[in-house]
């Protein structure tokens, strides 16, 4: 019964069927299924499968985004129960993301955000044209594992550098990893500004984020 409920949740996520996800999560909660299992063995499992299909070239981006939305709708319900039951929140890590100052392009950032979410991250999106001061303010407040700064325009690369500099000034740099991404970002730039990682696409962004977190845990 319990595993049937979880399978049906995962299947509805894979089918990008938000209504059925919500209905199945409600039923599972009513049936007394653990809300942590609903997240880990139902919602996240389904989302992960869509992510893997995308990685193999068997699913389209629109399916990832829609599966992500369906997963989040189910998460909202499960989270209420998790908080009520004082369970530990199942998450791969906390990730603050935003587009660098002077840049209003957000498609790439949004795709990375979706990929992180379907990979189990709790993502806080600061939006576009985010000042370094705002990144630091939120980093101090939320203490994320990772801060991610996106830039499409060459000229907004400086915004990535300044986030790192201001995290250092605030004494926060050692407490979190910084990832950078976007069209003009490469390994050389990542090294030059002292970021911890960069990814060429959204799938590898999620993988690198997980690697950074496990590396930091080992330390």
């Amino acid at each position: 019964m319990e595993s049937e409920r979880l399978v049906s949740i995962a299947k509805a996520v894979i089918d990008c069927d938000e209504k059925t996800v919500v209905k199945n999560v409600q039923r599972a909660i009513e049936d007394g299924v653990s809300p942590v299992d609903i997240v880990e063995k139902g919602l996240a499992k389904g989302a992960l499968e869509v992510g893997e299909k995308f990685d193999r070239g068997e699913a389209f981006l629109t399916e990832i985004v829609m599966a992500g939305e369906a997963m989040k709708a189910g998460m909202q319900l499960a989270m209420i129960k998790i908080i009520e039951g004082k369970h530990a929140i199942p998450t791969a890590g906390k990730y603050i993301i935003g587009t660098a100052e002077g840049d209003i392009h957000d498609l790439g950032k949004n795709i990375v955000k979706t990929m992180l979410e379907v990979s189990g991250f709790q993502v806080i999106d600061l939006g576009v044209d985010v000042s370094p001061a705002r990144f630091v303010e939120k980093a101090v407040e939320l203490k994320p594992h990772i801060v991610g700064v996106s830039a499409l325009l060459t000229v907004s690369l400086e915004g990535q550098r300044r986030v790192i500099e201001e995290l250092k000034s605030a004494g926060m740099r050692e407490k979190m990893s910084v990832m950078v991404g976007g069209g003009p970002v490469d390994e050389q730039w990542t090294r030059e500004i002292g970021a911890d990682g960069f990814a060429e696409n959204a799938v590898s962004a999620a993988k690198i984020a997980k690697q950074l977190i496990s590396k930091n845990k080992a330390i």
Binding site: F54, F60, L61, I104, L153, T154, V155, P184, Q188, N201
Partner: protein, 487 residues
């Protein structure tokens, strides 16, 4: 310079064009366009648009758009330092634009990449100057040959323009990062032209105003646009909606949204300074949902280009396209097919400026070899659209009578005279028999392209820049460094 096509190809019916036009007008009136610039919102407000200053959205009435389109210039001439290299932009004249536009240099033989340097920028600019079929250089918005990684980020655009002016006499373009940078770039061009008035009458600059789809023009883009428009310098409007991501997934929906974005920009430029040369950017992108890449070379991209070029002609606007590029990472069959297909479709559809040849891997790299191949493709496409001469001499009835039945034409003076005039003769593509090809080293296209690029870079001497102007450009760059890097 330029080749004019006699009868442009039309992929859309008249009825389809009208339906897209109506949809675009509806978007402009019902949804509007976000202009993150209060001064520009005020200009639109005064001209009759319905403006929400809080949301920064202007709903633009059809009557205003039509009125502006009636007055907008149908064409302009793009100048470089060398007056003989000037290009007429408009009226079905077709040009190739060259420019890798990227921070990464791709080596298609070793399949590796490396960061671009100032030397690459200078070498590539001389190569562009030396290639016969490259008429225009660089992409006004997305950069010139490369974005050099060994100079400071905030003024890389100034280095691009300086390298262009020093190493080429052709009309060109590069990035413009901000209003402050625009003023220094324009100052460089005014120094070469002699005065602001000279530059206005013979524009050596242009700006590509890239709106951010869907339906947004950023503060920075609009500020730069103001600098160019107020001086009457050409502006192309090239928002790049991505099908299914930042515009409807259907091509008709993307075209309607794109037309609305472009026309909104053109309305603003004309209201700032009536008569400013403007161009329609055929840059809508087919978004690949499997790879998250905006495709520049696929059939989807080609289809969009043909339709957009037709729409630009419908509005009687000069046009720029994204063509002659490829999604392939190397100089392979896919690369050749995609560059040729998109270039031919754009040229047949009467699009004026097509490129940037030399860009590779779906907007991810600059490639010397691919530029040389693109130049050869452009040459062949110029020949195709030049069409068939059907004069009395070309019909050659006298020669047919003279040779008669069963003879041959090889020894005829008519043949000797007309062969190089009528036929496209490639110096790069191979058409030897198998034995001769092997005797000549059995080379492949990319190897020959590399040899040609190296030879031109080594030997080509661009029209020199006078010593005192060179010094003045250097001083402008120093001033910019002081002001912009200090910030």
């Amino acid at each position: 310079m330029g080749t004019k096509i006699l009868r442009p190809f039309e992929i859309l019916s008249t009825e389809q064009v009208d339906k897209i036009d109506r949809a675009a007008m509806t978007v402009l009136m019902r949804v509007g366009v976000k202009m993150q610039h209060d001064g520009i919102l005020k200009i639109l407000d005064d001209a009759g648009a319905e403006v929400d200053y809080g949301q920064k959205v202007a709903k633009i009435p059809e009557q205003l758009v039509r009125e502006v389109l009636r007055k907008a210039p149908r064409s302009y001439i793009a100048y470089g330092r060398d007056p003989e290299k000037a290009c007429f932009i408009g009226e079905d004249y077709v040009h190739m634009r060259g420019g890798g536009t990227h921070h990464m240099i791709v080596d298609p033989i070793s399949k590796t990449t490396r960061p671009a340097t100032m030397k690459d920028l200078e070498d590539g600019t001389r190569l562009l100057d030396g290639l016969e079929n490259v008429h225009l250089m660089g992409n006004p918005g997305s950069g010139h040959w490369t974005v050099p990684q060994d100079v400071p980020v905030p003024i890389r655009d100034l280095y691009e323009w300086k390298a262009l002016f020093e190493n080429s006499g052709k009309p060109g373009a590069g990035h413009t990062y901000s209003r402050a940078n625009a003023r220094y770039i324009i100052k460089m061009a005014e120094t070469i032209a002699g005065s602001a008035e000279e530059l206005r009458s013979k524009p050596m600059l242009s700006y590509e105003c890239e709106g951010t789809s869907p339906l947004v023009y950023s503060t920075n883009s609009l500020e730069i646009m103001e600098e160019y428009a107020s001086r009457g310098l050409p502006i192309s409007f090239n928002p790049m909606p991505l099908t299914g991501a930042t515009s409807p997934v259907t091509f008709a929906g993307t075209l309607a949204l794109h037309v609305a974005e472009i026309l909104a920009g053109i309305v603003v430029a004309q209201l700032i300074n009536s008569g400013t040369p403007v161009a329609y950017g055929c840059f809508a992108c087919a978004f690949d949902m499997k790879t998250c890449v905006q495709s520049y070379g696929s059939a989807n991209a080609g289809l969009l280009r043909a339709a957009e070029a037709q729409l630009a002609r419908h509005y009687r606007l000069p046009s720029f396209s994204m063509a002659l590029t490829t999604d392939s990472k190397i100089c392979d069959g896919q690369g050749g097919y995609e560059m040729g297909m998109t270039m031919l479709l754009c040229a047949l559809s009467g699009c004026n400026s097509n490129g940037p040849g030399g860009e590779i891997g779906a907007d991810q790299g600059t490639c010397y070899e691919m530029l040389v191949i693109a130049d050869e493709i452009a040459g062949s496409v110029y020949r195709i659209i030049d069409g068939i001469n059907v004069s009395e001499d070309a019909l050659a009835i006298e020669i047919i009578e003279k040779v008669g039945i069963g003879g041959q034409y090889l020894a005829q003076a008519h043949t000797r005279e007309n062969y190089p005039k009528e036929h496209f003769i490639s110096t790069l593509f191979d058409s030897y028999d198998w034995g001769t090809w092997k005797k000549h080293g059995a080379t492949d296209l990319v190897t020959r392209a590399r040899e040609k690029a190296q030879k031109i870079i080594k030997t080509h001497q661009p029209e020199p820049l006078h010593g005192n102007i060179k010094t003045e450009l250097e001083n402008i760059l120093k001033d910019a460094e002081k002001e912009i890097l200090r910030k």
